[in-house]
């Protein structure tokens, strides 16, 4: 039968896309980022991927399925970066916060396209797929909240608005993808350092 069985739509668990599927995912992501999901043509995507339209349909049962695959691929990359950065540090909330901000910035700069997809195109997921996606996404995304919460509890952070801080840090790092230029003077590490500082300013660490 078809590869479609192994699609994310069916099992929620992490399935590594095949080489062919990677080609589709990347072509589609380029298109979706350029035009948005609704205005992107699946014909053009197949063309950009260098195969026939039917071949795409052999691997993904429809446009939605492709969108879901891209988004899940994005959160996988995101999770991987968070895990990697956090594995380098200990339990100190300040250290952990800096590490996470570093991961966020790395993601928004080195995976600019993935980054732009997530959050912009989620609204185009049909309810069923949105559920599948949310479940996958939750785990990775609650990290910031728990780090802040821990820091506040332990007295490391003294901010009176932890929830607003969480949202703000997320928003300000997320928006980096909108202006970051890989050919510009700033390296991801430069930016991460500055945004780490800014994030800590918001959280008002115990002096």
């Amino acid at each position: 039968m078809s590869v479609r069985r192994g699609t994310y739509a069916r099992h929620g668990d992490t399935v590594v896309p095949s080489e062919r599927q990677r080609v589709f995912i990347e072509a589609a992501r380029r298109e979706f980022v350029r035009n948005g999901y609704g205005a992107s043509s699946i014909r053009t995507i197949a063309q950009e991927a260098g195969v026939s339209l039917s071949a795409l349909y052999y691997h993904y049962k429809n446009k939605q399925d492709l969108l879901l695959a891209i988004l899940i691929d994005g959160v996988n990359a995101f999770d991987a970066m968070c895990d990697e950065e956090l594995s380098r540090v200990g339990d100190d909330p300040v250290e952990r916060l800096r590490a996470l901000v570093f991961a966020l910035v790395r993601f928004r700069t080195t995976c600019q396209e993935q980054s732009l997809m997530i959050g912009t195109e989620v609204r185009n997921l049909e309810p069923e797929n949105a559920a599948v996606y949310e479940q996958r996404r939750r785990s990775g995304n609650e990290l910031l909240g728990s780090i802040i919460e821990d820091g506040v509890k332990s007295g490391a952070f003294t901010t009176p608005y932890p929830e607003d801080c969480r949202r703000s840090i997320l928003a300000m790092t997320t928006s980096i993808a909108n202006w970051y230029d890989p050919d510009g003077p700033d390296t991801p590490a430069d930016i991460a350092a500055r945004y780490g500082d800014l994030a800590l300013l918001l959280l008002q660490p115990r002096p």
Copy 2:
């Protein structure tokens, strides 16, 4: 003889939409926010506005023109709020900063739909219209930059990263439109007060 001549596409200056045009703008905005520009049907918009498709074409020469009208309508609302809030305060950078944040928050909360359109759907403007729009938008949007710059020059703000602060403040207030619930416990003023605090934390005002 058609109204189209007076459309934004032709003259860049502010033209107040007629009553009829307001109906179209609002119906279209609802649709664009729901589905995105590319996936929205101009037929559905006409239907929601309660008139015939041809009537819409009498007022706007095409879908693009409608998008441009919506976006300009959005920046007009935005500019009006900024002007209003800033007219209440004097020259002190801290006061001005708070006033502007207040305006930003008011816009993102009370004009949620306009807010979501701006920034999400700009990319769907064709080059010619994008130019028209950018010109209109610039003036209003450079306010934050100049306030920060003034504060830094005068020594009122001591941040070493004024540009990152500007971007961060913009991003964190912008993102409010994504989660704000008019039926929730927080009033726009509540939120504005907190985000004013946060913004000042980033800018590190002289103690």
Copy 3:
């Protein structure tokens, strides 16, 4: 707005198709009779009707709607013939039976295409439309049953199997559409006379 509002799918009552709609109905009927509903292309139908594909979609909201229109047009023709023939005779069951068989034969011979559609393509109606159609069809189609029933009650027909007779008379007249050749030697009236005799043989009239 569009003509679609007046389509049969919306109101169950008899709406006379416009001139344009007649063209579509006849082109579509030709195609459906030739290939069957499922294998007929709506593109080809539009082509045969001599208009663009979109024009067809302006008048009928989809393939189903067109099918329904054709079928209802068919039962309308059928009903008209039955009414006409029965209006010529009195109350005598034998007379009425002959008149109805005459109407059946006339329909199967002079409206061969309509005839072939009805009964062959009803199965392609989606449930909702099938309901609309059945309701329209019922009235006309129960005539034979009631004539036979009356005759049996009054003793004019002595058959022990009135229900099988009903089905048989229906089947044998229906099948005429399959072989009747308008250029052949038999006139519809010839055939009707013979099938009237046969139908009466089945019903075993009181001698």
Copy 4:
């Protein structure tokens, strides 16, 4: 080396389908009866048969070939029933007529699906295959005509319209497949007895 060589398309003679082929034939028949030939998908058929699409293509060279196989399988069943019933009786036209009607009814009731295919889907045969099929079908189908002819010649049947009788008897028995319900009260034998009576009424046997 493929089985296709032995397919009906190549030799006209009776080839008994293999066990595997029976599975395909039955799955396909179910689909064809449900949707009609043109609207049935060969993919769905393979799925229902529980094998891969390619496996189906190994056994039948295309959709047409499958249709032909089904139809021929149908006439084979039909012929077998006729032979069986007729072998039980002698030369008397009345006896033979009753036996044949019995066979017709048995076929339409116990092989309902085969019955519905034959006659409904023949029109979908391409000319070449239609020829192959007609040749196979003729023999079995001319039985009724010859029995009636014999009876008329010998004076056993006095009908003035033997050809119309033949068509009527065929039509009325054929239509049984449309309403027969295996779970209903009537057994095939019950129905056959009644339709035998009706058929004889049409033929007007010498008293």
